[in-house]
Every structure is written in structure tokens, then in C-alpha cells.
């Protein structure tokens, strides 16, 4: 397991000196704060409008804000993760360090898990400041919404992000070119996104596709519902793509030098 630990440390070290990581995280946080502001103002205006009309404000304002906020976050994550994953394997192959790793007594599983968990850690660190917005909301809500709501939402976001990272990392292992990896990952994510948009039109096919949608399963988490089937879906998704990445790394031995 020393190999795994070494990979993880190295990857984390690289994220800290990588300009791309800082830019991506920075952009994400700025946009998420901006959208939080927009959502908050929007929901407040809605509730005022309803009061003016004499309707009692039965809407659960904090809940609505949270649901919309985490919805936006998932979209941001969808657009941002390709930038984080594109270089994970492409860089190693371009630099020739893949040859070092593959001729050292470290297994493919250790390499893949080290890289994946490091990317997941970076992702979690990226999400951390968004809790600031959430705490702000909580402090100004009376009564405070249950904490389980927020925990469920973050759990969903982590699972969603983990899945996207696993998929993006797999794609990165297929090519030496970071740009191609990024483009293919974007394409994959867009397809995934579109699958989700289609879900409201109904019909058996769209329902089946919706089940496969990575984003679809996330919706319930934002409402505070932790559905076991969604958990299983995400964990399986992550396992699948981590497994495929291990196979892909192994197959690098068979590709022409």
C-alpha cells in the first residue's frame, strides 16, 4: 500500500502547484457564490409577491433556496470536472513518467486509486467554501431547516462529483492528448445532461434513460432524500469506471510505445 500512498501524495502535491487547479476551483467558487445570491434574491422576491397577493407564504424558503442552489452546483460541477480530469493520465504519458510507474513495483490498482482519491479530495476541498453560503442561509432562517437536508445534499453532490470524476479519469486514460480528453469528457457529460432534460416528457424509453442519468438520481438528494437505489447507482457507477480505468492502464502495456 506504500505505492498507493506515494501516488496520492504526489497527486495532491501537484494540484497545489497546478495553475489549472486554482483557476478551476476559483471560477467554480465565484460562480457558485454569484448564483447563490441570484437564487436567494429570486426566492425572497417570490415570497414577497405571494404575500402581496394575500396568499400565506407556505413555501419553505430555505428549502427552496437549497434545492435550487444545489441544482446549480451540480450543473457547475458538470462543466468543471472535465478540466480537472483531463490531465490525470495524459500528462503522465506525455512526460514518459508512465514508463516509470509501470516498471516499478506498484500495481495498476494502486496507481488508479491513488489518482482517483486525490481528485476526489480536491473536489471535496473545492466544495468546502460553498458551505459558507449554506451556513449564511441557516443563520438567517427561522426556524432553521433540519441539518439532515444539507448533509443529504452534500452527500449527493459528492457522489455525483465522484461519478463524473471517475468517468472523466477513465476518458483521460484513453488518450495522450489533454485537449482530446477534455473534449470527449465534455461530450460525455453533455450527453448525460441531455438525458436528464428529456425525463419530463414521459414514456418508457425516456424513463429508462432517466434511470441511467447521472444527474437524475441527484435530484432527490437535494430535497434531503437519501434513496438507497440512488446510492447503489452511484457507487456502482464509480466502481465501474474505476475498474475500466485499471483495465485501460493495464492496456497501455500493449499499446505501441
Amino acid at each position: 500500500m506504500q505505492g498507493f500512498h506515494a501516488m496520492y501524495r504526489k497527486e495532491m502535491g501537484h494540484y497545489f502547484v497546478s495553475p489549472i487547479a486554482y483557476i478551476v476551483v476559483g471560477v467554480f467558487l465565484i460562480l457558485s457564490a454569484f448564483f447563490f445570491d441570484v437564487i436567494l434574491s429570486d426566492v425572497i422576491q417570490q415570497s414577497f409577491a405571494m404575500q402581496m397577493q394575500g396568499m400565506p407564504p407556505e413555501i419553505d424558503m430555505p428549502g427552496e433556496v437549497l434545492r435550487a442552489f444545489f441544482g446549480i452546483l451540480s450543473t457547475l460541477v458538470l462543466f468543471i470536472t472535465p478540466m480537472l480530469t483531463m490531465g490525470i493520465y495524459a500528462e503522465e504519458r506525455k512526460r514518459g513518467t508512465m514508463e516509470l510507474l509501470m516498471t516499478s513495483p506498484i500495481t495498476e490498482i494502486e496507481i488508479v486509486l491513488g489518482k482517483f482519491l486525490a481528485s476526489l479530495t480536491l473536489y471535496a476541498i473545492m466544495l468546502l467554501p460553498t458551505a459558507g453560503c449554506v451556513i449564511f442561509l441557516y443563520l438567517h432562517s427561522d426556524p432553521m431547516p433540519p441539518w439532515r437536508l444539507v448533509l443529504a445534499a452534500y452527500a449527493g453532490l459528492l457522489l455525483l462529483g465522484g461519478s463524473l470524476l471517475a468517468l472523466g479519469t477513465f476518458i483521460s486514460s484513453l488518450t495522450e492528448n489533454q485537449l482530446i480528453a477534455a473534449v470527449l469528457t465534455f461530450a460525455a457529460f453533455l450527453i448525460v445532461w441531455v438525458l436528464d432534460i428529456g425525463r419530463n416528457t414521459g414514456g418508457d424509453v425516456t424513463n429508462a434513460l432517466h434511470y441511467l442519468s447521472v444527474v437524475g438520481h441527484y435530484q432527490d438528494f437535494t430535497r434531503g432524500i437519501v434513496d438507497t437505489s440512488a446510492l447503489i447507482y452511484y457507487v456502482s457507477f464509480i466502481f465501474l469506471f474505476v475498474f475500466l480505468t485499471v483495465r485501460s492502464v493495464d492496456s497501455m502495456r500493449w499499446r505501441r510505445a
Binding site: Q2, A6, E99, S104, R253, W254
Partner: protein, 323 residues
């Protein structure tokens, strides 16, 4: 005691066979040189030995472990420097070497010592805190060498270890390699012929994926010493001189060098073992009325042997066709 055993190793990339039935063995503590032109199959052979890629057929074993079936065991016992040093530009030299020590399985308590030792042996201690991307080519190469040594492996495989180094550094590296022999087994590949005769105990000459010769540098020189090389200095036009020399029976590989300012040409002629055609050469040149300034036999160097063994057969056919 045999440390590395390669039997009938073959590697095909689709229709192209890069390594074709290569067999050789390396004794413990020996330095084996791999000599061959570009594309001969040296790097591919090394990549198979280090477990980077599998062979199409044949076997290779290091320290008794098969490189394919017991790959992890083999990888624990080898240090490898590929053609381009596998370094991470954003890491400092010491951090990089620590990382390599970790993935090579060096236990925590030994790591500092081993990294320090590798830095000292390759003479890069003063660069230990420097970021690798800021190092010159030569220093990067030495970092690459250091990572091959950091875990003190039994077998060290080096692909062109002195490339990119200045003459002083080259001497240091050769000294280092010679110093490692005995307690380590070393396989190195190179284009640089003097390097082979200076550092290696034995040489494998490889061409187009096949082994052309396996022997000590001294044996190779004496084996082919029968063949002679004759050098002439003549005042003559180049093409007619070349044709004249090529037509002499027993001559193969005539090489006429560029004319000097005063019109004198130097030409070399190689002959098969046992034939002395010096008198014919002298006679033919005088016959033509050209001025002959020098005529002498030169013994074949390793370079000549290398070229002899690795040149296409087409070049040999040329003098025959000229007849």
C-alpha cells in the same frame, strides 16, 4: 551465476517485428553493453525486460523471476533509466527521488539515506532543492540516473545513460557505472562505441531485431582482425578512384573522403580476412598515373566491426556488381 537470461525473445508490433529471436545472458556483477543502430530493437528489449510491455514470444528472467509471470518481483529488483529521464518537472529533485524511493518499496526509515546516497553518487547534491524543470538537460539526465539507483537494485538497466552529458560528466558516469559493477549487474545500451569498449565486460551487437554478435570487446576485435583496412592518400579525381579501387578483386567497402584543398584524396578499402591487396592497389594507382602519397594497413576498430556487422548486404554487393 546467471542473473539475466533471455531466450528467443520476440516482439512484433503488428506486421513489424522489432525484436526477433534475441537470446543472451548476463552474469551477476557483469556490465553488458547493447550496441546497435537506431531502430535495432534495443529499447524494445529493455522495455520487455523491465516489465513495461510483454513479449510476443520467448522468455526473459531476472534473478530467477520471469519478467511476465512474476513482473512485480522483477520490478522490485531492477532500476531503469529509459531513453528520456522520467521526471516530473514540478517537483524538486529531492522530492522526486523520495517519491521514486517510495514506489520502489524503500522502507520509510531507509529513504533519507538512500536518496542522499543517490544524490551523492550522481553528483547532484547541490541541486537537491531545485525544481526539475529548471535543470539543464545534463542535470535532468543525472536525476534520471539517480532514480535508477535510489533503491539500490540488484540489476540496473540503462538506456543511453550518457546522452546529453558533457565530456566531463560522461567520464564521471562511466566511472560510476564501473564502480557499481560487481555488487550490481548492469545492462546498458549505447551508440557510443568507445563507451562499450571502456565500460562493458561483454557486448551484444543487435541489428534489425536480431543479435549479430555476443562477445567481449577484445574478442570481437580480434575475431574480425583477419579483415584488413587499407588507407591510401592519392592525388586523383574522386569517382574514377572509387571505381578503380572497387574493381580490385577482394576489395569491399571502398570509401573515398572529401578532397582537401590541394586535391589530395583519402580513401579506405576493406578486404576479407586473409587477403592482402596492397600491392595491387599501389600498382593500379601508379598505372593510372596518379600520385600516391600514402599506403598503409589499419586494423579494424570496434567501430569498423560494428559497421561491418550492421551494414546492409546491398553495400557488400556493390563492388561485386562493379566487376
Amino acid at each position: 551465476m546467471i542473473e539475466v537470461e533471455v531466450k528467443n525473445l520476440t516482439k512484433a508490433f503488428g506486421p513489424v517485428t522489432a525484436v526477433d529471436g534475441v537470446s543472451f545472458s548476463v552474469n551477476k556483477g557483469e556490465i553488458l553493453g547493447f550496441l546497435g543502430p537506431n531502430g535495432a530493437g534495443k529499447t524494445t528489449t529493455m522495455r520487455i525486460l523491465t516489465g513495461y510491455m510483454p513479449a510476443t514470444s520467448g522468455t526473459a528472467a531476472i534473478a530467477g523471476f520471469d519478467v511476465f509471470n512474476d513482473s512485480l518481483e522483477v520490478r522490485r529488483r531492477i532500476g531503469y533509466l529509459p531513453e528520456a529521464p522520467p521526471v516530473y518537472p514540478d517537483m524538486s529533485v529531492a522530492a522526486y527521488l523520495d517519491f521514486v524511493a517510495r514506489i520502489k518499496g524503500v522502507p520509510a526509515e531507509k529513504r533519507r539515506e538512500r536518496v542522499g546516497d543517490a544524490l551523492k553518487k550522481t553528483n547532484i547534491e547541490d541541486k537537491r532543492a531545485e525544481l526539475i524543470k529548471r535543470l539543464s538537460r545534463g542535470y535532468k539526465q543525472r536525476v534520471g540516473l539517480a532514480q535508477a539507483l535510489v533503491h539500490d537494485p540488484e540489476v540496473i538497466i540503462l538506456d543511453e545513460p550518457t546522452v546529453g552529458l558533457d565530456p566531463k560528466q560522461i567520464i564521471e558516469v562511466r566511472h560510476l557505472i564501473k564502480g557499481l559493477a560487481g555488487s550490481h549487474t548492469i545492462i546498458l545500451s549505447t551508440h557510443i562505441l568507445p563507451e562499450v569498449s571502456m565500460t562493458c565486460d561483454r557486448v551484444v551487437i543487435i541489428n534489425k531485431g536480431k543479435v549479430a554478435a555476443v562477445d567481449t570487446p577484445q574478442n570481437l576485435t580480434s575475431r574480425l582482425k583477419g579483415g584488413q583496412k587499407i588507407r591510401v592518400e592519392v592525388q586523383a579525381p574522386a569517382k574514377p578512384l572509387e571505381n578503380l579501387l572497387a574493381q580490385i578483386p577482394g576489395a569491399h567497402r571502398v570509401n573515398v573522403e572529401q578532397a582537401r584543398a590541394d586535391g589530395r584524396l583519402t580513401a579506405t578499402v576493406e578486404t576479407a580476412p586473409g587477403q592482402d591487396i596492397r600491392s595491387q592497389i599501389a600498382a593500379k594507382i601508379i598505372e593510372k598515373g596518379w600520385a600516391l602519397f600514402e599506403l598503409r594497413g589499419v586494423s579494424m576498430s570496434l567501430e569498423d566491426i560494428f559497421l561491418e556487422l550492421t551494414t546492409d548486404d546491398a553495400a557488400h554487393a556493390q563492388p561485386a556488381a562493379a566487376n
